[in-house]
Symmetry: C2
Subunit: 436 residues, 2 copies
Amino acid sequence: MTTVQDWQAKSWVASANEAGCGFPLQGLPYCSFTSEDNRSVRIGVGIGAEVLDLHALSGAGLLASLGGEVVSACCAAQLNALMGCGPEAWRMLRGRLLELLGEGVAAEQREMVAAALTPVADVRFGLPVAVGDYTDFYASIHHARKVGSLFRPEQPLLPNYAWVPIGYHGRTSSLVVSGTEVRRPSGQYRVAGAEAPVLGPTRQLDYEMEVAAYIGAGSAMGEPVGVTEAEGHIFGISLLNDWSARDIQAWEAQPLGPFLGKNFATSLSPWVVPMEALEPFRVRLAERENGMPGPLPHLQEGGDARSGVNLSVEVYLRTALMISDLLEPFRISAANCRELYWSFAQMVAHHTSNGCNLRVGDLIASGTVSGSAAGSEGCLLECTRRGVQPITLPNGEVRAFLEDGDEVILRGFCEREGFRRISLGECRGIVRAAVV
Amino acid sequence: MTTVQDWQAKSWVASANEAGCGFPLQGLPYCSFTSEDNRSVRIGVGIGAEVLDLHALSGAGLLASLGGEVVSACCAAQLNALMGCGPEAWRMLRGRLLELLGEGVAAEQREMVAAALTPVADVRFGLPVAVGDYTDFYASIHHARKVGSLFRPEQPLLPNYAWVPIGYHGRTSSLVVSGTEVRRPSGQYRVAGAEAPVLGPTRQLDYEMEVAAYIGAGSAMGEPVGVTEAEGHIFGISLLNDWSARDIQAWEAQPLGPFLGKNFATSLSPWVVPMEALEPFRVRLAERENGMPGPLPHLQEGGDARSGVNLSVEVYLRTALMISDLLEPFRISAANCRELYWSFAQMVAHHTSNGCNLRVGDLIASGTVSGSAAGSEGCLLECTRRGVQPITLPNGEVRAFLEDGDEVILRGFCEREGFRRISLGECRGIVRAAVV
């Protein structure tokens, strides 16, 4: 059974139909939340300016047709059990939610559903998924090239880039939900010219604007997932900020890669947008560039594979001064995921090509999303060329890297003529001073 | 309350008192197991040739004095809940087990305890701990130098080595318990001189002989753990084989470190030896070498800190031919953890120095343990100098890297005149052919 999606349908939740609303009936992203009058952690679904409480919906008997396993999974605190029910269950649940929230629903049911709505403004989000393993890729060739040019002007792109979706394992204990404050990390770094390193608060704190996919269907150890089946393992996507301390990272990263320069905090947006909601925005990834070889057959997607997403991502900065002056956040960069070099399907196929097993709830991030154009750099390292060319904000403040009190806000959305806007929401975090 | 340890005491379990037995009363390592006549997964304790079932012991009321939280934790399938009870509980439980298994126990209790014993030969082990994050360090300077000399003869040791306990995040989904077969991974590698890589079964499959510490007491995000308090966060240690595909690793590892060359499988020994059992074997780490600078103050241990362990580790190989000819495994190398450059306390202090939080059940591995002497190389990469100098086995077989059907066996033990031998048990794995 496939959900029949009506890309023009409206919801009886009025706020979902407003122009520009990123949470229309066609979106229905999942989250984990609590509210003032109900502190138990529940799964919710975003619709307009409301969160639909799936636990309450189950309690009202409105999900009974989906079977006991799905009903039980909808009563959990996080999405893992629901993802574990499998793609067919995801589609059925989405279909049922489209019915219940659509204009055609019977008045009696509509009343029961309305009783399970809470304004987004009144909820507190938690991490939507208990993540088992978190892998961070390096899928933007523009990011790889621009960062590479800072450290290896003679060879910005390493020879393996065109062949291997480069990735590494990140830290799961320090994944935090949007809105969590981020403490400036201390660590070892070595100032240029010095022989010995020093320990101190990082002087090069950065963000990385990323998109992340949650694995909803696992894979067995020893069994590679083919690139054409790979996307079926993905439940949905979110925004991710891979906070980075560039000075710590530069000093520690040889020979085994980033560690303390990254693992102090990684922020996730609260919403998980299901892959089905992205269907109208699927595109071929931008043409591989002239002269780029590869990939090997196991990573080749058909010429008509729409494995990319026309997904705009933006990063905004609001300094402490801007906050106190009530100024709007300033957009530093905007990029689009269609410019990634590797698709999530290719990342999944590569990840499992050696038999590494994926589990329900694993997180796979794109790496910094940067575009080819100026103004599309997904981190300050690129924007300011390692701090050498600081940016000037509209209020006259200057930034080479992040300062204490700075708030970083990632936003993501899909737009296409004739379709409703689908928002990924926001991923926010304010930098707090290091503990001295 | 501290357990009064009697390093000469005997157990009424006769096999525990035999000369050379590595599971005496003073050891009491923990495991997770099932048995033929009871398939439920339980926590056990090794004593002589027996496993003591803590669930059964709780059921008999013999742990009641420890309180409900500990009793409940002892009835779990893995050690996480028990570790979560905290160091004081660990000591109390160990004290109670020493009483119950010691010669002085009353006959009635002894009978009840005896009923909870199962021969080790009859049990099947599982992973003792549900690991949240797995970090692999690079704490052997001899390993770092010998491997470095293969790739950078002009600079075997990188400038950061003396300052930073180098580490990276590993994969938790593919942690497997000793005895699990390991499938030869396929992956991309590039043959010397070739322009393009190929996809195929690794031609350079290797083991890494490591020791790993389980975090039993976590730490909060943003709060560094001081080096003198760090060891209090460790519950116990095990053996770990960080299987590695050197050709895949070499091709993928720049710029973000090892990924598919490592994450297809990591084997763990079933036993977790509590830190208290290692007390007589604690030593200062070998002197820092002449001319080595550092570390910075936050990683400095007092001159009399016995942060090392006089722990012998050995790696044995048994080929398919040796198995069919009933030949004993051949010892390839032997090293000692007292030759590590960084202690587990320093690894924990470093890991948290940026505010990265540790959770109960996290795993921290030493990296390959190699010694200074010939014959103490902890991996084949070192032994055979990247395959250039293959080793010849007693039956005439030759190995540059591992072949299908090879069994790798790690063993670890502490020995000291006047004290009982404490074994870490074994970590075994047989290599199976790649799926083609």
